[in-house]
Amino acid sequence: MSEKLLEIRNLKQYFNQGKANEVRAVDDITFDIYKGETLGLVGESGCGKSTTGRTIIRLYNATGGEVFFNGEDVHGKKSKKDLKKFNRKMQMIFQDPYASLNPRMKVMDIIAEGIDIHGLAKNQTDRREMVHDLLETVGLSKEHANRYPHEFSGGQRQRLGIARALAVDPEFIIADEPISALDVSIQAQVVNLLKELQEEKGLTYLFIAHDLSMVKYISDRIGVMYFGKLVELAPADELYKNPLHPYTQSLLSAIPLPDPDYERNRVRKAYDPASHNYEEGEELSMREVTPGHFVLCSEREFKSIQQEMATV
């Protein structure tokens, strides 16, 4: 595989640390993101997938662990200047295209905000041209630059969000449920746009979502989270064909598919965390079952999985 763009090592994000209501939103997770790939992150609400994204981009200060971007620690002490340099490389697209655009700013200024902060435009004409180019890249036209966000539909707003993220020429984009708020027919438009941009600009995505069929479609690899832990990480096809962790199996069995015949015969699996029967002292870690396919399991479970794989 190609080189690592991002290395996440033992990342922890605890809220209300040390108090009675401590929440371990992200609890010691480790994974890599390779250059040019899309890593999907799925799980139910509250499992910590969004927090993971936000901690990686430093919207939260991590409680523990490290994030290396191109070999450089993101969470280490940084001067303002270094931070600025780093912010340019990593951008975010948010879920709600209504809440994430300032209603009192014109599209021109929303998109150019990053350009201004980083001083990327030489003069006003240059700035305007950059915004016009960006609008066209995301499938809007330059006339849109003088409008306000409320004049756009949900799908168009999400395109504005993408244009804003692209304005500073990032290498890595965290897309936090970018299509959840959109209609089915518009979802496909936005997903196709993200894919095209990736091919054109060689972008790397962390795609956070709970719609598993869309995630499979856009992702090269998928990580499944459950209660702050990464429980399985595998290439997209492999995860769907051969889910190993019982939670992944339960999640996959719950996706409704647009196929009535399949739905009539669907067997849903429930996940019971107690089913693991972990004994005291058993150590859980991400173990590699087949190349690139990691599962959170104990040594004992690992052996039984390997035995099963051998018999198939």
């Binding site: 609400s45 496909a188 438009q189 196709n192 894919k195 999640l251 409704p256 598919l257 647009p258 739905e263």
Partner: protein, 353 residues
């Protein structure tokens, strides 16, 4: 089968500052006893407005019935006075909303919220209502119902809240249950539980369900029949198998193709181009024509009537006219049609209709 609700030529507009928004432009459908009818379509297609007009929940000063009738129990709901409507709402017809957070009163224990419709619509005392409420909670799968009666909505999870909303909606054994995106705000695993619960309860109390959603996977799971709405009209209606395995309207084709299945490969996802029509000035002909790859010249001139595909299956597209050219649907749709007896691409196969 017994018809329980008939919607005939319904037209409804909103008067706004910008002008008249023609939200529903001639909708016809019947609802039969014990069935689940799913209404699908994107935002602004009129699916929620249709059901809210059945419940008469639209603001009377801006929403105006232009034409048509909604027949329930021999009465036209569009003509009822507010007082009369209040006797039907929550008793014969009840509704579940998308967001269980906002449809429950945060300042009231849930027990009180469940007994509310019982005390209002049925001549029973408080103790009796409480007993029924506990039974209802047990029926929707809430553990320790006696203790939980005293708790407030914030003490429940999203899935549990939706169960409470369902308990309230079913309190008076309604003849019709309208569910407006009841699982959209929930996770897939919770969604699967709620859908199973709704199907179970439907069998138990033999109610008819109108299920609004834009998730075609959910439709395939719950529906007996499906109505596809676009631009304020129903463009195709049929049994769930007819809609998923033998769709006829290009909009239905687009919807079905734009959802990746879990075995869709890396090929580009089909996206319906453009955006939904502006209902301030609805297009003259077929509202979908401008976004359709299959539009004919007549689509821009005259709206298509319903063409009959089978006794249960109708679609409003000029492509079904005898004089229309023979077009080939998208590849994914042909794949679906291959397993449907009666479609022109049938190759023999699994689906039994």
């Amino acid at each position: 089968m017994e018809k329980i609700l008939e919607v005939k030529d319904l037209e409804l507009s909103f008067n706004t500052f910008a002008g008249e928004v023609k939200a529903i432009r001639g909708v016809n459908f019947d609802l039969y006893k014990g069935e689940t009818l799913a209404i699908v379509g994107e935002s602004g297609s009129g699916k929620s407005v249709t059901t809210k007009s059945i419940m008469r929940l639209l603001p009377e000063n801006s929403a105006v019935f232009k034409n048509g009738e909604i027949l329930f129990d021999g009465r036209d709901l569009t003509k009822l006075k507010d007082k009369e409507m209040q006797k039907i709402r929550g008793k014969d017809i009840s509704m579940i909303f998308q967001d269980p957070m906002t449809s429950l009163n945060p300042t009231m224990p849930i027990g009180k919220q469940i007994t509310e419709p019982l005390l209002k619509h049925q001549k029973i005392g408080k103790a009796e209502a409480k007993r029924i409420a506990i039974d209802l909670l047990r029926m929707v799968g809430m553990p320790n119902p006696e203790q939980r009666m005293k708790q407030y909505p914030h003490q429940f999870s999203g899935g549990q809240r939706q169960r409470i909303v369902i308990a309230i909606a079913l309190a008076c054994n309604p003849k019709i249950l309208i569910a407006d995106e009841p699982t959209t705000a929930l996770d897939v695993t919770i969604q699967a539980q709620i859908l199973e619960l709704m199907k179970d309860l439907q069998k138990k109390i033999d109610t008819s369900i109108i299920f609004i959603t834009h998730d075609l996977g959910v439709v395939a799971n719950v529906a007996d029949r499906v109505a596809v709405m676009y631009g304020g009209k129903i463009v195709e209606i049929g049994t769930v198998d007819e809609i998923f395995y033998n769709p006829q309207h290009p909009y239905t084709w687009g919807l079905l193709s734009s959802m990746p299945s879990t075995d869709t490969d890396d090929e580009k996802l089909y996206a319906i181009p453009g955006t939904p029509p502006d209902l301030l000035s609805p297009p003259k002909g077929d509202a979908f024509a401008l976004r359709s790859d299959y539009a004919l010249a007549i689509d821009l001139e005259e709206p298509p009537p319903f063409f009959k595909v089978s006794d249960t299956h109708y679609a409003a597209t000029w492509l079904l006219h005898p004089d229309a050219p023979n077009v080939e649907p998208p590849g994914t749709i042909i794949e679906r049609m291959k397993s449907f007896p009666g479609s022109r691409y049938y190759e023999g196969g699994k689906v039994n209709v």
